[in-house]
Symmetry: C2
Subunit: 144 residues, 2 copies
C-alpha cells in the first residue's frame, strides 16, 4: 500500500508542478477509484480568478462528475498539501473513503485548525512531504 | 442597516424556497456589493450531483466571476443558514467584507465547529432566522 500511495502522490506532485509553472500556488491532487485516476487537478485561483479554486475542490467535483456520484466512499484523494478548512469541508461532504496528503500546513491546515472530517474517512499524512513542501518553498522564494 | 439586512435576507430566502421546490436542502444566498445584488444562488447538490454545490460556494464563485475579482472585501454575503466548515473556508479565502446569516446550524455550522473566518470579515447572525429554520424543518419533515 505504501508504494502505491507514493505512486499516486507522484501524480499529484506532477499536477503541483503544473501549477508552479503557471504561477499558481503549487498544490496538486488526484482522485483514485479502484486503482484508477478518475480526476486530477491543480490550484487554479489565478487562472480562474476564484479564491476557492483549490486543487482539492476541483478534483473532488471532477470525480463526482466523472463517476456520476454525489459521494465518494470508494475513492482516495491524494493531495500534496494538507487540506484547508474549506477543502476538508468538501472532503467531509463527499464522504470520501480515504485522504492521503503530503506536507503539513501549520497555518491553514484542517488538522491544525481542528476542523473535522467525516468519521469514516481514513487519513494518511506525510507521503512525499519533502517534495511537496519544497515546491511551495520555491514558489514563495520566487515571489519575494 | 438592520432593515437593509432584512431586505437582502428576504432575497436569500427566495433562493432557499427555489431549492425547496426543487427538492434540494433549502438554503439560499445572495452577494451584495454597493447595495447591488451581484450573485444569487441556492443549494444544488442534487441537480449538479455534487456534494460541494452549497449556496454559498456557488454565490461566492459567481460574485468573483461577475466582479472579475479574486477577493470580495467590499461585499456582503447573505445566507439563510450558518455556513458549514467548507463554506466558511471559502468565505475566508474570498476575504469577504461581511457575512450575514439567518438560522444557526448546531451540527455543521462553522461557529459550532470553531472554524475560523478571516479576521477582517464582520459577522451578523440571526437575521430572519425563524423563516430560514422553518424552511429546513419543512424539508426534513417531507423527507420522513
Amino acid at each position: 500500500m505504501k508504494d502505491r500511495d507514493e505512486y499516486y502522490m507522484r501524480e499529484a506532485l506532477k499536477e503541483a508542478r503544473k501549477a508552479l509553472s503557471a504561477g499558481e500556488m503549487p498544490v496538486g491532487a488526484v482522485v483514485v477509484c479502484g486503482e484508477r485516476i478518475v480526476a486530477r487537478a491543480h490550484n487554479q485561483t489565478e487562472l480562474l480568478n476564484d479564491a476557492t479554486a483549490h486543487a482539492e475542490m476541483i478534483a473532488l467535483t471532477a470525480a463526482m462528475s466523472y463517476l456520476n456520484a454525489k459521494y465518494l466512499p470508494d475513492c482516495t484523494l491524494y493531495v500534496t498539501l494538507e487540506p484547508c478548512s474549506m477543502c476538508s469541508g468538501a472532503v467531509y461532504w463527499s464522504k470520501l473513503g480515504r485522504l492521503v496528503y503530503g506536507a503539513s500546513d501549520m497555518q491553514r491546515g484542517y488538522e491544525h485548525l481542528h476542523c473535522p472530517l467525516h468519521p469514516k474517512t481514513r487519513v494518511r499524512s506525510g507521503v512525499l512531504a519533502e517534495e511537496a513542501a519544497k515546491l511551495i518553498k520555491d514558489f514563495f522564494k520566487d515571489k519575494r
